[in-house]
């Protein structure tokens, strides 16, 4: 049975960023599970050669940072397998490190590549890898965590934010885990992982009620393959559902997707994604109207629909003002959703970006022919150009009234403002 255009569009929007009409049409003949498999298939993902600026000592850290952001945004914009980039973004907001503290773009890039290559595999493998990632070792201070002088920062967040959530452990467990993680640090360059046995506390520790000589990776195994596996599966399933569908899934949905995730081999993220995308609730009204586009998602959509590259659209000028600067999460808890993106302050930043993009798009001829169309057709063309597949009646009538008024006044700005306005509608600001 074919899948409706609306459902395909919704899935592509959430699993990626901003589907083009042809991408939607190519999948509608398939049944839903087959569409989901197409979305999950990342075999066509192109390699991700790093931006040459990053790590080049002749280029300033600031320019490296700009290049790094533009490089990633362009991957989000152009990848034929956008789910890989969407999940990379998810992990960036989950296993948070920030350039603010890490200090080197090359370390953030290396971590980003790690997220990308492991984005849809085993959650345990990913967690083990990120625990030893140099940027993470620096960001959460485990590089300073040595026997006799434990630093609890990483040990606490490993449980509170990365795996099981608050309330699933006690302070004693944080202390024990911090001791287990002593010695997992950085080499003398400060940029590569090294285990220093002399700095490792090899004594007996009691973690989650079990006393033995825990080491760091064994702590993760206990959390993700031992006694806390089901708690962790539920924690991650809930967070991923919220990221892709809508915040705070109902119990029945959370139970079901957690069960699928738990039944997979070593907490396989692809299995969890498949479970989420095949749930009927994923296509329900609470889901389709349930997420505000995050600034990164909005920027990628705007660039994609206008056909403008990051280098020409300069999203990095505006993302901070919108509240979501890539490689600069605000704190270890990462970014939040919906309400977090709605304020006059963030609106101004969004509008600034959109307006800047407008002049570039206009110069390239976007919507150039709409001046010859009746107002209703011109508005329909504009909304469809920006991927608004089901605009609200309110939006359509307001834009038509605006265009009629602009034409009656013989204003100069029909074409540019017809580019600006759709991107500032609630329709476009929703991931809807």
């Amino acid at each position: 049975m074919p899948t409706s255009r609306q459902d395909v569009a919704h899935l592509l929007r959430r699993a990626g960023f901003a589907p083009l009409p042809a991408e939607i049409d190519a999948l509608t003949s398939l049944d839903r599970p087959a569409v989901v498999e197409q979305v999950l298939n990342t075999s066509a993902a192109p390699p991700a050669p790093p931006p040459s600026e990053v790590g080049n000592p002749a280029i300033s850290q600031w320019d490296q940072f700009v290049a790094l952001q533009q490089w990633w945004i362009d991957r989000m914009r152009t990848s034929p397998c956008p789910i890989q980039e969407k999940m990379t973004l998810f992990w960036h907001g989950h296993f948070v490190s920030s350039l603010d503290k890490v200090g080197q773009t090359s370390m953030m890039l290396a971590q980003n590549q790690k997220f990308r290559s492991m984005a849809m595999g085993s959650f345990r493998t990913l967690t083990q890898s990120i625990a030893l990632d140099p940027a993470m070792l620096r960001y959460l201070d485990n590089a300073d965590n040595v026997a006799g002088a434990p630093n609890e920062n990483f040990a606490r967040e490993l449980m509170e934010l990365f795996t099981v959530g608050v309330g699933q452990y006690r302070q004693e467990d944080v202390v024990a885990s911090a001791r287990a993680w002593t010695g997992y640090g950085l080499d003398s360059t400060g940029t590569a992982f090294v285990f220093d046995a002399a700095s490792h506390d090899a004594g007996s520790k009691t973690f989650l009620g079990i006393s033995r000589n825990w080491d760091g990776p064994a702590i993760i195994d206990e959390l993700l393959a031992g006694s806390r596996k089901s708690v962790a599966a539920r924690f991650i399933a809930g967070k991923l559902w919220s990221f892709l569908a809508y915040p705070s899934p109902p119990q029945v949905v959370l139970d079901a997707i957690t069960a699928d995730f738990l039944a997979s081999t070593d907490l396989d993220i692809t299995v969890l994604l498949r479970s989420i995308f095949n749930r009927p609730e994923f296509y329900s009204t609470p889901a389709t109207s349930g997420l505000v586009r995050s600034p990164v998602e909005l920027v990628v959509a705007a660039l994609r629909y206008t056909g403008i590259s990051a280098a020409n659209g300069h999203p990095e000028w505006y993302l901070g003002g919108m509240g979501q600067e890539l490689f600069y999460p605000p704190n270890v808890a990462g970014w939040h959703q919906n309400s977090y993106w709605i304020s006059p302050a963030s609106f101004w930043a969004r509008a600034g970006f959109v307006r800047n993009l407008t002049w570039t798009a206009q110069a390239a001829g976007l919507l150039a022919g709409t001046g010859q169309l009746p107002a209703a057709a011109a508005v329909a063309t504009a909304l469809s150009t920006f991927g608004i597949t089901a605009p609200s009646a309110e939006t359509v009538s307001r834009l038509q009234a605006w265009l009629t008024g602009e034409r009656a006044a013989q204003g100069w700005a029909e074409q540019p403002n017809l580019i600006t306005l759709p991107m500032l509608t609630p329709d476009f600001q929703l991931a809807q």
């Binding site: 809930g238 349930g290 309400s339 709605i342 600034g352 006044a409 929703l430």
Partner: protein, 458 residues
């Protein structure tokens, strides 16, 4: 704001974004929103006579509810991440301080002398001048009962202003003050940030979030008729139900609100705000006060103060920013308003008494608060906790409940009933001498520099 289970929790650095709300939370009914917020005032004007009232209807709306003689203005500075109280207000006369912090103690000779046995961090030079003038009170040992060392839980407690378990839709202490106002129209409370922190969010109304940069603020300059028609289209999108559900409604209403707000506040962004983290926030705060837009509470803040490693230099820089910012605030503030204003800092907790082996300090409990203003009873207030009689984690035992400080400013600055807002009687502290009684003359609104809205026209 709800705290969605199970993952939405944090424990590090500034927890601010998590304790923030949208401008238009979906939990508010549209009617309440229109009654409560600035969009209410703006929307009424838009419907009647869109954009034809000079500075827009908002200034009019705000001016219709000017501050009353004796009303105070409260400016809050959040020091996110847990400010080290012991290295801010330093017990230079206590040997236990020096023995606990061999790598981090500030020598008595470097501290700025406050009172016998006490010194101020050397970065706080301007604050010291203000202290010498008798305009700074320092409340010591402030905390909350049964402290929890989590950033989130601590800041959540401080922002809610209660130690009871969070409700499904918790409110902040100043949000409840806003809720209780009979006519909270206009810009009664402002959060200088991209969203509204919980302490300024109530059940039915909340502070308006303003950025520190309006870069070409969309909607602020209507001199071009085509621009004006575009802004009107956005404004009108939020006049009715969006047909897109509660988030669509919130986004549409935010557009309406933003269009109304831009014209009102754009002049306050000229000339450009100074660089810095807290400094531009406080300069904007002072300008908003000078403009007499009806603002009574302004929230600002910066961080991080989470000084786990190599604290000394970092902490000194952060306190220097605090010092610079407060000075810039008073340099900007009109003397006519200065007597009305109280500035208060807060942080979720202090730091451990012992320094750690990374030349930093771990999460602690009680800390100090600065209360600044010309009506303040300058000096040390409260009681400094013992550095040797500690709790089992090696942390200070608080001597002043944070709600006592809140009650004091609610009572004195905002003429509110603290017991109603805080859910109990926590007493007050003698932090104020009184007010400058003369009511400031409302600033006339002169011709202002035009805001440079810069569309690149073809």
């Amino acid at each position: 704001m709800t705290r969605p289970a199970p993952f939405d929790d944090t424990d590090f650095a500034s927890v601010y974004p998590q304790l923030c709300r949208p401008e238009t939370p979906s939990g508010l009914t549209r009617r309440r929103f229109l009654q409560a917020g600035i969009a209410g005032a703006g929307a009424a004007v838009v419907l009647a006579n869109p954009w034809r009232r000079g500075l827009s209807g908002l200034a009019t709306a705000a001016a219709a509810t000017p501050l009353n003689a004796g009303d105070g203005i409260l400016v809050l500075i959040m020091l996110g991440g847990g400010n080290d109280g012991l290295n801010t207000v330093i017990p230079i006369g206590d040997g236990a301080y020096y023995s606990s912090r061999p790598t981090l103690a500030i020598p008595a000779a470097q501290a700025l002398p406050l009172a016998p046995g006490w010194g101020l961090h050397p970065s706080l030079v301007h604050l010291k001048t203000r202290w010498d003038a008798g305009h700074v009170a320092i409340v010591q040992g402030v905390g909350y009962p049964n402290p929890n060392l989590s950033h989130f839980d601590s800041m959540d407690t401080w922002m809610r202003g209660t130690t009871t378990a969070p409700a499904a839709n918790p409110t902040g202490w100043l949000g409840r003050w806003l809720d209780g106002l009979t006519s909270p129209a206009g810009l009664k409370a402002v959060a200088i940030d991209t969203s509204c922190p919980l302490y300024l969010a109530g059940a039915t109304t909340q502070a308006v979030a303003l950025p520190t940069a309006l870069d070409g603020a969309f909607g602020a300059d209507r001199s071009d008729p085509s621009d004006g028609r575009m802004f009107d289209a956005i404004s009108l999108l939020g006049q009715g139900p969006s047909g897109l559900g509660p988030w669509g409604d919130a986004l549409a209403a935010n557009g309406t609100k933003t269009m109304a707000l831009g014209a009102t506040i754009a002049p306050e962004y000229q000339p450009a705000l100074p660089p810095g983290d807290l400094t531009p926030q406080l300069v904007l705060a002072a300008r908003l006060i000078n403009a007499n837009l009806g603002v009574q509470v302004i929230g600002t803040g910066f961080g991080s103060f989470d000084t786990h490693t190599t604290e000394a230099g970092f902490h000194a820089a952060q306190l220097s920013e605090l010092d610079t910012a407060v000075q810039a605030f008073y340099d900007t503030l009109s003397p006519a308003w200065a007597g009305w204003v109280t500035v208060m800092t807060f942080s979720e907790f202090g730091r451990r008494v012992d320094c750690n082996d990374s030349a930093g300090t771990d999460h602690g409990t009680a800390s100090c608060q600065f209360v600044i203003g010309s009506g303040v009873q300058g000096g040390l207030a409260g009681r400094a906790p013992s550095l040797t009689a500690l709790d089992p984690d090696g942390n200070l035992i608080m001597t002043t409940d944070f709600r006592t400080v809140y009650a004091t400013v609610l009572d004195h600055c905002l003429h509110a009933n603290p017991a109603t807002i805080l859910g109990g009687d926590f007493g007050t502290l003698p932090l104020f001498t009184g007010w400058t009684t003369a009511q400031p003359t409302r600033r006339l609104l002169p011709a202002r520099p035009r805001f440079p809205f810069l569309p690149r026209k073809p």
